[in-house]
Amino acid sequence: MIKYILVTLGFGTLAGYLNNNYAKVIDNNWVSSYLFDFSLILLLFVMGFMFAADEKAVAKLKKAGLKILGVPFSIALGSIMGGLVGGLLLGINVVGSMAVTAGFGWYTLAGPLVGQLFGANFGALGFVVNFLRELLTIVTIPLTAKIDNYTPVALGGATTMDTTLPVIVRYCGSETLITAFSSGFILSIVAPFTITAIAGIPK
């Protein structure tokens, strides 16, 4: 399946590039917004449906209980730690690099917000780092799902509430729906506050 994901992604990228730069066959928005939203909405509906219809998945969630709320906080700390170590190794401003990885994969937030707080260079880094996080998560799910059900959730960060959710559930099973969604949801809520709070650390 990873082959199909990569081929589809490559084909989509090529189509987007050609359409944007050479032949304006369709409006970019038509695919980037409408087709994207349509497939995402359909997938989220189907995933919710399959979860509720799966009695084992519901039972498993009840057993895990409130412990799953600790999942996003571990991921948040790990992400910021990655930024800290990355900043030290690459010799860039550590506060800035922590703010970059505190986007947790939400690149449309991290790009502009980090840019505003740390300047355009960090803004570009914030965008690309978090964009790559989503991309790497989605293409490696067929592999990382084999490690355990939580590894793709850890990789996905904030994206596990929307774009990467359907693919995670497809590979890890319905029982992962609420864990992945709640983790992504909490990380999405805390991301703007975390980035802003990190920016308050004296440089």
Binding site: I41, A53, G78, G86, L90, Y150, P166
Partner: protein, 88 residues
Amino acid sequence: MVLNIIVPLVAGIAIGYFLRKRKHLDLGKVTIGAIVLLIFSMGFSIGSNNELLQSMPNIGFDAVAMVALALFFSVIFLKAFRKVVNLN
């Protein structure tokens, strides 16, 4: 966010709950088809974003290193947390 994420998910859960006794629904094919559409449109957004494509070579290395570290520590920290609270 509420309209295109929460509403379809909650609607799916509600309808799935009412239809849970019917075991003949197989949505596997719909899922695969929709995942292909989703990933295609993600690729399309990348390909049609010249700014993103241009910034890749300049900051690509730093970005890859930082993503790799963020992912690594996220997995490690989550593993440690699950061990502590015994979450399987």
